[in-house]
Amino acid sequence: MDSTVVFQTVILGVLLGGQYALLASGLTLYFGVMRVVMLAHASFLVLAAYLAWWFTTSTGLDPMLSMAITVPLFFGLGVVMQRILLSRLRPATLTMMSCLLTLAIALVVEGVLGFLFTGVQRRVQVGYGSAQLNFFGASIPVVKLVSFGLAVFGLAALYFILMKSSFGRSLRATIQHKQAAQLVGINTDRVAGHGFGLGLATAAVGGTALALDATIFPSLHWYWIGPLMAIIVVGGLGSVPGAAIAAMILGIATSVLQIPMGATWAQTVFYLALFATLLFRPQGFFGGRLAQRF
């Protein structure tokens, strides 16, 4: 194997891993604040990608500008969804019911997208769409760099919100121990709603990044559910840094294995990592003490 090719795939793997990391961080937030397995995350990702595509085709502006609308919109949607739907579920059956409920939301989103935009595959056209950048012999498509940049920007914003703001402190406290958080005066219900909104806002950023370098269609979200769930389990349910590390490792692994195995078989890496984790270390590899409770 040519070393340049390997180098290039590793770079592409890092870029892919960045995207996965951003998306998986959203899933981790939902699970952290509410113990909810959110199957609709990927469908909102596709929704955001469609909104970006629609924004670009109707205004001619860069798809990234659509985030000015989609990020606050998705934050609001997330809060509303948590407040009026998920918080109504009974705690004893939350895991199973939340799966059904979020799957239902995913179906509604997919159905409405298919109804409004038909099943035709769409692609955002941008000026730098076919440009390549030469990086130490590896040629990297500019759109992938831009969407990686978006993912890094999203993750950095999330990091600062979680680590530096007082809302982030309340959120982390709610994830770590809900009752203890209530005892120190945190309104955990409201924090859970905002945490949900924050998770969905990451889907808005991720969806815009997705629209830049992929062809989109309404049923695309099914392809994302598996890998994203694998990442949050390997990283340790509820741990944002764990999810980011797992996303990076698995992103690079699939990218490199694509050369000998082909694109489809390389996807099995996610599931094999998931099953291995569930069998030998169900609490995940980077989750630490928190994840052991699940």
Partner: protein
């Protein structure tokens, strides 16, 4: 306490309950057998076969979900493996159609043993994620392994009765499904009444306590899991013979697994006929949406909305809800502890537990009055 007349009503009801139940079951059998002659056209008959297929899947699923409380979203895997197993055995080994179904069910049961031992170590969210991932990886394998499974272009299965016309074909499969469903229901009923079933329910209510009381929880769960997988696989095998064309995307779909959960939930997972009732309602709705809105993707949205409504407003299902309503009116005071959930027990405990110390003066006098 119930009054004298109420006790009288209760006794009379108890005496008649047996007769009523037998009558209900016979009515159900008569309805089941006479549906085909009531349905005029072949389309409706094929829809009835689809609904029976769902009913068999949901009842099969309920061996796991109903008794042990483990909610698997991945039973589509066993449905698809049963269907593909049958197709592969017929196409590659030239086996007789129904022998192929039986063998496919056996193979799936054998596969389900190690999968069960692995998956049932997990609980809650991890279990759900594991079952979903199992469907996804099998989907990936069946889509990609072109030379063996036919890949994304699918696989055709020769008709088992080439001499029959299409309506006759539907009719025969209607009765085949009905027979298998009756067998599944009978087995569920027998387990429900047995000590084995009681122990499985113990696992559902509190697995750790059941284990502490000496129930070999892992082995019991695996038995329920394998039974459940076997019935789902049988439904898949019959489906392969009936429909004659398999596509990995539809056979191994999370959606199919979610439908099984939804149907069992709509009817009520703790009752024998719950999944069947749910399959009739949801299956009818699905067919209706597909027929009327199938041209656009909006039928998916309609299915999603139905799912949302069930989860939000009918999480316990129709049969337990109706039974509770009947109990409240007819047999006040009589409760069945066995069917109470942890949550209900907790709620009852809370409401009958010590009052919150809102009246400190009262508690002070109580304490003061005792030496």
């Amino acid at each position: 306490m119930p009054s004298a007349s109420e006790t009288d009503v209760m006794h009379r009801l108890a005496r008649y309950a047996h007769v009523l139940r037998m009558g209900g079951v016979s009515a159900l059998i008569v309805i089941g057998l006479s549906v085909p002659s009531a349905l005029g056209n072949p389309y409706l008959l094929s829809a009835a076969v689809v609904i029976l297929n769902y009913a068999l899947c949901a009842t099969g699923w309920n061996f796991m979900g109903g008794f042990t409380g483990y909610i698997s979203f991945g039973h589509a895997a066993y449905f698809g493996l049963g269907a593909y197993g049958t197709a592969l055995l017929i196409n590659r080994l030239d086996l007789a159609p129904f022998l192929a179904v039986a063998l496919a069910v056996l193979i799936v049961s054998v596969i389900a043993v190690p999968v069960g031992f692995a998956a049932l170590r997990l609980r809650g969210a991890s279990f759900v994620i594991g079952t979903i991932a199992f469907v996804l990886i099998i989907l990936l394998v069946f889509q990609s392994w072109n030379s063996f499974t036919g890949g994304s272009s699918g696989m055709e299965v020769p008709r088992p009765f080439p001499e029959l016309t299409r309506p006759e074909h539907h009719l025969r499969f209607y009765y085949l499904y009905l027979g298998l469903l009756a067998f599944a229901l009978l087995l569920w009923w027998l387990i429900d009444r047995s000590q084995f079933g009681l122990r499985l329910k113990g696992i559902r209510e509190d697995e750790d306590k059941a284990r502490a009381l000496g129930v070999p929880t892992m082995e019991y769960k695996v038995v329920a899991f394998v039974l459940s997988a076997a019935f789902t696989a049988a439904a898949g095998g019959l489906y392969a013979l009936w429909f004659g064309d398999l596509d990995p995307v539809f056979q191994f779909s999370i959606l199919l697994g979610a439908y099984m959960v939804l149907m069992a939930l709509v009817g009520g997972i703790r009752s024998l006929f719950g999944p069947l009732l749910g399959a009739v309602i949801v299956g009818y709705a699905l067919e209706y949406f597909k027929l009327n809105y199938g041209d656009t993707q909006i039928h998916l949205a309609a299915t999603g909305l139905l799912l949302v409504l069930v989860v939000l407003f009918m999480p316990d299902g129709i049969i337990p809800g109706a039974r509770e309503l009947a109990n409240r009116h007819l047999r006040s005071g009589q409760t069945s502890i066995r069917e109470q959930t942890q949550e209900e027990l907790l709620a009852a405990q809370r409401s009958s537990g010590p009052e919150p110390p809102s009246q400190p003066a009262f508690s002070a006098t109580v304490n003061g009055g005792r030496p």
